[in-house]
């Protein structure tokens, strides 16, 4: 029964969608204080390389590797963030673009550690490691009636899903907290926010570092899902792709980049013929969105409408109930 439902192909695509959602969230956090980073591919590669090298060469457990990868990306985010955050708008974007390229060139040339352009292969794979671990405890795929590779894909998907849901929950909650309101105030008007007593340097660095950390986290996950990374996976085009998730889906609410990442990752799989024109479409999307809907497809207004419609429905239903009760009473 289960064996027929689980198809590793669909799970694979869904796993990549989840990783891209995390990347979309990472650029969203940075954007939520009005800062544009073109260096997220660089942070992603720091996370990926750190985790790959630690688990492969130094036998760190996978979980520790991923966490350290994300942390290092976050720390680099702080180090880069503090000096560059004096820059505004386009200057910050250009500086982070430069940062991303420097990281890539460094990984190409640091051959003793990264094997240069050849890349790192046979990185421990999430699913495969877990299945071997489970086997030691006596649990095998046969016990629930599925094949080994089905179990592997399923485990990868479940892990990623749990991680993604947790991340989104965290940032949704953060948005409704003091931090989230500070971010929003800075995005609206930096000077006004400062006048209101918000420590804008602190919050900007916080947002930048959070974004960097989440990107590094996504990179580490990517490394352990594909089991192979090379510097060319994290070039300028990757940074633009991440940016498009937010520009297309929307950068006002967290659901925007989530939708953008889901739609744009699923599209070439559903319509294979599109993939040939993928980047041309990306280009047109960027220009068209800026001209017609700079806030992205999903914005505050849309979320508000959906919410209020739900509320309205609920209210109507409540009213009905109320009336019925009255009717019965009279």
């Amino acid at each position: 029964m289960l064996a027929e439902i689980i198809n590793p192909y669909y799970l694979q695509v869904l796993s990549f969608i989840l990783i891209n959602i995390i990347l979309g969230v990472s650029i969203y956090i940075t954007l939520s204080t009005g800062q544009l980073s073109l260096g997220h591919a660089g942070f992603m590669s720091i996370g990926a390389y750190t985790s790959a090298i630690l688990t492969l060469n130094y036998d760190f457990p996978l979980v520790v590797g991923v966490i350290l990868g994300a942390l290092l990306a976050g720390i680099v985010g702080i180090l880069i963030g503090i000096p560059t955050l004096r820059l505004q708008g386009v200057y910050l974007a250009i500086a982070t673009l430069g940062f991303g390229e420097v990281v890539r060139v460094l990984f190409i040339n640091w051959e003793s550690l990264t094997q240069g352009a050849i890349g790192i292969s046979s990185i421990p794979h999430f699913g495969r490691e877990l299945v071997t671990g489970l086997r030691d405890t006596g649990f095998t795929a046969d016990m629930i009636g599925i094949r080994n590779n089905q179990l592997i894909s399923l485990l990868v998907f479940i892990i990623l899903l749990v991680i993604t849901v947790l991340l989104i929950t965290f940032f949704v909650r953060q948005n409704h907290s003091r931090v989230g309101r500070a971010f929003a105030a800075i995005k609206m008007d930096e000077n006004a926010a400062e006048a209101m007593g918000i420590n804008i340097t602190y919050y900007k660095v916080l947002a930048f570092a959070q974004g960097a950390m989440v990107a590094g986290f996504a990179g580490a996950l990517y490394a352990h899902v594909t089991a192979y990374i090379s510097p060319s996976d994290f070039a300028y085009h990757r940074a633009v792709e991440i940016l498009i998730f937010a520009v297309f889906g929307g950068s006002e609410v967290i659901w925007g980049p989530i939708f953008g990442a889901t739609f744009l990752t699923a599209m070439p799989e559903l319509l294979r013929e599109v993939s040939e024109y993928r980047y041309m479409i990306y280009g047109i999307i960027l220009v068209a969105m800026m001209a017609f809907r700079p806030q992205g497809l999903i914005d505050h207004e849309m979320i508000y409408k959906i919410k209020s419609r739900k509320k309205k429905k609920k209210k109507v239903e409540d009213d009905k109930k109320e009336r019925n009760r009255h009717g019965v009473g009279s």
């Binding site: 694979q12 352009a117 495969r128 013929e273 969105m289 017609f292 497809l297 914005d299």
Partner: protein, 386 residues
């Protein structure tokens, strides 16, 4: 109200755009079902193909799938095996190659896979296929470490570690080489892998390496590196570059007055070099599994048929795919069923197979064993290097 209309409109506009571009795309991913129907007694099997069919490297994928289709047509006519090819596009990306492989292995239940096109893709797809027990054969993956991924991973494309030593040895013999300079692209997996081999061979042969220079993708100006190389006065230049950059490097080198021969890797081996560099391409030495000018009936038949079918000269990618298809068909015939393990075992036992590339066998790791041909460009043509 007006604003929300505008929003909806823009959503529709983008959707329409996506759909429009979706429809205009060519339908290249359909399975190949041409040819005769299965004859009685033929072993039938489904074989998946992962190839780079769209984007920058679509040319490679086209040559490969053409080679496969041509071979499969002939195999069907012979009537011993009946193979259905199911082709998926990888667009040269690891993620898409992996998704394609999952689709082929799990949705289509193929018995074996041919492809993917790039070594980087194989490094991601190979372990997954090996884990699922699906034999997979690369026909264009030349980087080091591919067959070592697992027992189910094979390739019929000669690795750089076989091609480069052959060409360097012959060049040393002919030109009495003592000192060499090396120039390579350090941000590309193929050229870097080629450089590693070149360096090792040069050290093994006791050559003096005068200088090692690098270049990067998208670079147009190689004058700085070449000026430096020129001043060290090497007997030979070892240049690990793809033909695109390689041809330009030779052009700039010749203009500068560097007239020593070049030894290139597998990626340098293309008729395009002559097209781009013209006379400047003279003096390039490469080792290749494929030589269209070979005095062999099989080779000439293939060239003629390929030209008739596709209106183009076959290149090494088409030739390697053609032989790869035959190798796999042979294994399926020997296995006598479409069982994945039986096909793997039969493939591993392949020995002394006579293809258009020459006599081929697989070693214990699943790597190809064969004698490469060393060619040089002379008077604007690839010729045997002797």
């Amino acid at each position: 109200m007006r604003k929300s209309y505008k929003g909806l409109l823009s959503i529709f506009a983008i959707m329409a755009l996506l759909l429009a571009s979706a429809c205009s795309g060519g339908n290249e991913t359909s399975g190949d079902q041409s040819g005769d129907a299965a004859k009685d007694g033929a072993v039938s099997a489904k074989v998946g193909v992962i190839s780079w069919l769209t984007g920058a490297g679509a040319g490679y994928g086209e040559a490969i799938t053409n080679g496969l289709k041509l071979a499969n047509k002939e195999i069907k006519e012979q009537g011993k095996v009946d193979i259905e090819l199911i082709t998926e596009d990888s667009a040269g990306k690891q993620e898409q190659a992996l998704s394609s492989a999952q689709k082929l292995m799990n949705s289509e239940n193929v018995s074996a896979i041919i492809g993917p096109t790039l070594s980087t893709e194989m490094k991601v797809v190979g372990p997954e296929a090996d884990l699922n027990g699906v034999p997979i054969m690369g026909t264009s993956t030349t980087a080091a470490g591919i067959p070592q991924i697992g027992d189910y991973v094979f390739r019929d494309s000669i690795p750089e570690s076989l091609a480069i030593p052959a060409s360097i040895e012959k060049a040393i013999e002919k030109y009495d080489v003592k000192k060499v300079a090396i120039l390579y692209g350090n941000d590309d997996v193929f050229t870097k892998s080629g450089y590693d081999t070149m360096k090792k061979v040069a050290e093994d042969k006791g050559l003096e390496i005068l200088t090692t220079e690098t270049f990067q993708k998208g670079q147009a100006d190689y004058n700085a590196q070449l000026t430096k190389i020129k001043n060290t006065q090497p007997d030979l230049i070892l240049c690990s570059a793809l033909y695109n950059e390689g041809a330009v490097i030779m052009d700039q080198a010749r203009k500068m007055g560097i007239d020593v021969p070049f030894v290139g890797g597998n990626g340098f081996n293309s008729p395009e070099v002559i097209k781009i560099a013209g006379d400047a391409a003279d003096g390039l030495i490469v080792a290749t599994p494929w030589f269209a000018g070979k005095d062999d009936q099989k080779v000439q038949d293939f060239v003629a048929k390929y030209k008739e079918e596709y209106g183009k000269e076959p290149d090494q990618f088409a030739a390697q795919a053609y032989d790869g298809m035959y190798l796999l068909a042979n294994a399926i015939e020997k296995a006598g069923s479409d069982d994945r393990d039986a096909i793997r075992d039969a493939l591993a036992e392949t020995e002394g197979f006579e293809g258009i590339l020459g006599e081929m066998s697989f070693d214990e790791e699943g790597d190809i064993v064969m004698e490469p041909t060393v060619l040089t460009i002379k008077e604007g043509k690839f010729q045997l290097f002797e």
